[in-house]
């Protein structure tokens, strides 16, 4: 692939110090050439548009933290009307698929072979204790703890069904069910706790990291590997023009991917967008510049495609997934790791995305996080520029 020809048609080629108009012409020429290059290799377009669609469909439809139809074994050592009453409460819950088991041995076997996720077991004195006002009827829950998060959710659902049964039972007997403290909870911004509403906005940060950092790192590393960047540097293009010309097409591609993601989030997945679109666009643009800076820096450090692709996956994509607060809560990480997350641009962007989508334009959240992204962008681009210049001398 020859890449050192585009400026040959540039009229200002003869004078190195040309007017601003000449600079703009050179820049436009370079941008046009880069755009053609992107359009020629369909894999760049695929990263920008196919990946977001696949990711959004996977996260929007495929992944959910809200469990339904959990296979639950129920066992009563002495089945009677009382135990049937409790089991009916589980049957009526949308969260469970109830599997009655004849005895605890069978139920344990089912748990071990992963046919059920949990067992509710009533010992033989359950009914006797239930009708005796001085005793409490014991209910035992055994849950497969391998997936701890899931196990805790199951525990919550079982507790809720069990409490519902107690309330109904007390009221049937003509009493009022009273607890000393009555807790009521209200969840703001996402009252039904739909996991999609926070996964899909957060995903936009991952997608833009992919386009901005991974794609840029790869493309630029290829140019370093082939020496085509050095070839461009001997043309009248200035360093700033060269970087701008290289990055602008990918910026456009990234914003396109972002627009597609937002459109899918709002229209396909019904995620509310409570903030304003211009705040979303502006902060996205700033994040994208940071990501492009990261990609550029990686390509300069790696200088070949193999190392660049590994570095990009390891330093941008995986952290955007794991350390950005997209899935795992940053506040629960150890302190040293919380400090480390501050250099991950996606961290700030995920907070902004969650806020703009679900809460609205909360300036006290948006402004400091935007500033942090700007700072990171300046650092990445500054280091990149310095290292390119150094490598030329």
């Amino acid at each position: 692939m020859r890449e050192n020809t585009p400026t040959s048609s540039d009229p200002s080629q003869s004078t190195r110090k040309s007017s601003r108009g000449g600079g703009r012409m050179r820049l436009l020429g370079l941008i046009r050439k880069e755009t053609w290059q992107i359009l020629r290799d369909p894999s760049s377009i695929a990263i920008a548009f196919l990946m977001p669609v696949i990711l959004l469909l996977l996260f929007g439809y495929g992944v959910s933290l809200n469990a339904k139809h959990i296979p639950l074994a129920v066992v009563a050592d002495a089945p009677d009307a009382q135990s049937a009453g409790l089991f009916a409460a589980f049957r009526h819950s949308q969260y469970f698929d109830v599997h009655p088991e004849p005895d605890l041995t069978h139920a344990r076997q089912a748990l071990r072979s992963r046919q059920v996720q949990a067992i509710v077991h009533l010992s033989s004195d359950f009914s006797a204790a239930l009708v005796n006002p001085n005793r409490q009827a014991p209910v035992q829950l055994i849950v497969n703890g391998v997936d701890a998060n899931q196990a805790r959710l199951i525990q919550g659902y079982v507790t809720a069904a069990w409490q519902g049964w107690m309330v109904a039972r007390t009221q049937q007997q003509g009493h009022e069910f009273k607890t000393p403290v009555a807790l009521s909870a209200r969840v703001w911004f996402n009252p039904e706790l739909r996991s999609r509403d926070y996964l899909v906005p957060g995903l936009i940060a991952v997608i833009m990291t992919l386009i901005g950092a991974l794609l840029t790192a790869l493309v630029m590393a290829r140019e370093w590997e082939r020496g085509t960047l050095e070839a461009l540097m001997v043309t009248p293009l200035r360093l700033n023009e060269l970087l701008l010309g290289k990055l602008i097409p990918y910026f456009v591609l990234g914003m396109g991917g972002m627009a597609l993601s937002v459109a899918m989030a709002v229209w396909l997945f019904d995620v509310p967008l409570r903030g304003s679109l211009w705040v979303l666009t502006l902060t996205s643009a700033i994040f994208l510049i940071t990501a492009l800076g990261m990609g550029l820096l990686i390509s300069i450090m790696a200088r070949n495609q193999f190392v660049a692709s590994l570095l990009a996956i390891i330093t941008t994509f995986l952290p955007a997934f794991m350390l950005s607060g997209f899935i795992f809560d940053i506040g629960s990480m150890p302190n040293w790791l919380q400090v480390l997350t501050h250099v991950i641009a996606a961290r700030y962007f995920v907070i902004i995305l969650h806020t703009v989508f679900l809460a609205g334009d909360v300036w006290s959240v948006i402004l400091p996080n935007t500033l942090a992204m700007l700072l990171l962008a300046a650092v990445f681009l500054g280091i990149s520029r310095r290292r390119i210049r150094k490598s030329l001398e």
């Binding site: 919550g156 000393p180 009555a182 703001w188 990480m333 790791l337 809460a359 006290s364």
Partner: protein, 369 residues
């Protein structure tokens, strides 16, 4: 024949490890990531920032608050003095939760009317919100039980006791870290194998390789061996860190674990070589890796259970080698499963491995530019 394969494999290793930067990026980052992600990837919440708006001056309210302060799950960040402060506290993310205690709280408690307590939770991250809510629920429940006991009231007619098998304290790290072993192995093996053929194609040396006396099958093996060896070494290192640094219990036998690892490496190498054979340039190979890697990780049950996915997507996960490997890793680590328990995950891996390697070998011969 074996000599030729060995020679090719050695050449592949040299091509891979000649570049000092490549050596470093293959070895160091997976271990760093294991450590970093193992600390990061937990759904257990600690020190959830909590604000309290206490309108009651009584001792009962204080003792309820003390239970929140004493829990490691919560840390009280501020005490509010007016209800209008609640909104900004939540909006600005200064607290995830606001606990409001009504003015007649102590009075209600003593007179036996249910004393209202309200929780307001920031639902921007619905998973965190649900977990924090469940912590708060169990604190209040415990308070209720203790209060009823201390004041001689009739308590609830039944009790619920919970036992968790395989992970009694429900430490989510026990679940996540074996998963990270699979994740990192897949990433490294895919990158090493998928770029090997694509790089030669881009440089034009693959055609040269095809005109040598090497049979395509031999080329396939020669290309597969570096990925398998690196994957095996890396798996050993990662498992050692998981066991000795993070103290994840390894209940099953190493033999079963390594049988699973070998089969998984076979299928990962097969997919990698298949992508590599399809790609004409390195960039296309990387894209191919990504197009495979991302869905493979998301649909593997690594972070979200496969059972929660819609039926169609669940069927799709059946062709995902990482899905089976996640089950193998977690069962061998936590449940102590034997190969007999895991046979249903072994044979799909073998089939995926042989099919993809077969396709890759066929593509070597038939996809000439």
């Amino acid at each position: 024949m074996w000599q030729r394969i060995l020679a090719l494999a050695i050449k592949e290793f040299q091509a891979l490890l000649r570049d000092p930067k490549a050596r470093v990026v293959i070895i160091v980052p997976p271990l760093i990531q294991l450590v970093v992600f193992s600390f990061a990837a937990t759904f257990d919440l600690n020190h959830v920032p909590l604000a309290i708006y206490n309108q009651d001056g009584g001792a009962a309210a204080q003792s309820l608050i003390a239970r929140f302060t004493g829990s490691q799950h919560f840390s009280v960040v501020s005490h509010l003095d007016r209800s209008s402060a609640i909104e900004t506290t939540i909006d600005d993310r200064r607290a995830l939760m606001v606990l409001t205690i009504s003015p007649q709280f102590t009075q209600d408690l003593l007179s036996g009317t249910p004393a209202p307590v309200q929780l307001i939770i920031d639902g921007r991250n619905s998973n965190t919100a649900a977990i924090a809510l469940s912590y708060a629920n169990s604190i209040v429940q415990q308070f209720n039980t203790d209060w009823a006991w201390d004041h001689g009231r009739k308590t609830v007619p039944s009790t619920l006791s919970v036992r968790a098998w395989f992970n009694p304290n429900l430490v989510s790290r026990w679940f996540i870290i074996p998963g990270i072993v699979g994740l990192l192995m897949l990433v490294v093996v895919m990158v090493v194998t998928s770029l090997s053929v694509a790089r030669e194609r881009e440089q034009g040396t693959f055609d040269q390789l095809l005109v040598t006396p090497l049979h395509p099958f031999e080329i396939l093996l020669g290309k597969a061996i570096p990925g398998l060896v690196i994957g095996l070494l890396e798996a050993t290192a990662i498992i050692a860190v998981a066991v000795f640094v993070f103290h994840i219990p390894l209940h099953g036998s190493l033999l079963t674990l390594y049988a699973g690892i070998a089969l998984f490496l076979l299928s990962a190498t097969g997919v990698g070589l298949m992508i590599s054979a399809l790609a004409a340039t390195l960039q296309q190979a990387v894209l191919g890796v990504f197009l495979f890697l991302v869905p493979a990780i998301i649909l593997s049950g690594f972070a979200t259970p496969i059972a929660n996915m819609p039926p169609l997507v669940q069927d799709l996960t059946l062709i995902n080698p990482l899905r089976y490997f996640m089950v193998i890793l977690r069962s061998v680590f936590l449940e102590g499963s034997t190969y007999r328990d895991l046979i249903d995950t072994f044979w799909p891996l073998a089939i995926i491995g042989l099919t993809t390697l077969g396709i890759a070998g066929w593509l070597f011969r038939h996809r000439m530019n």
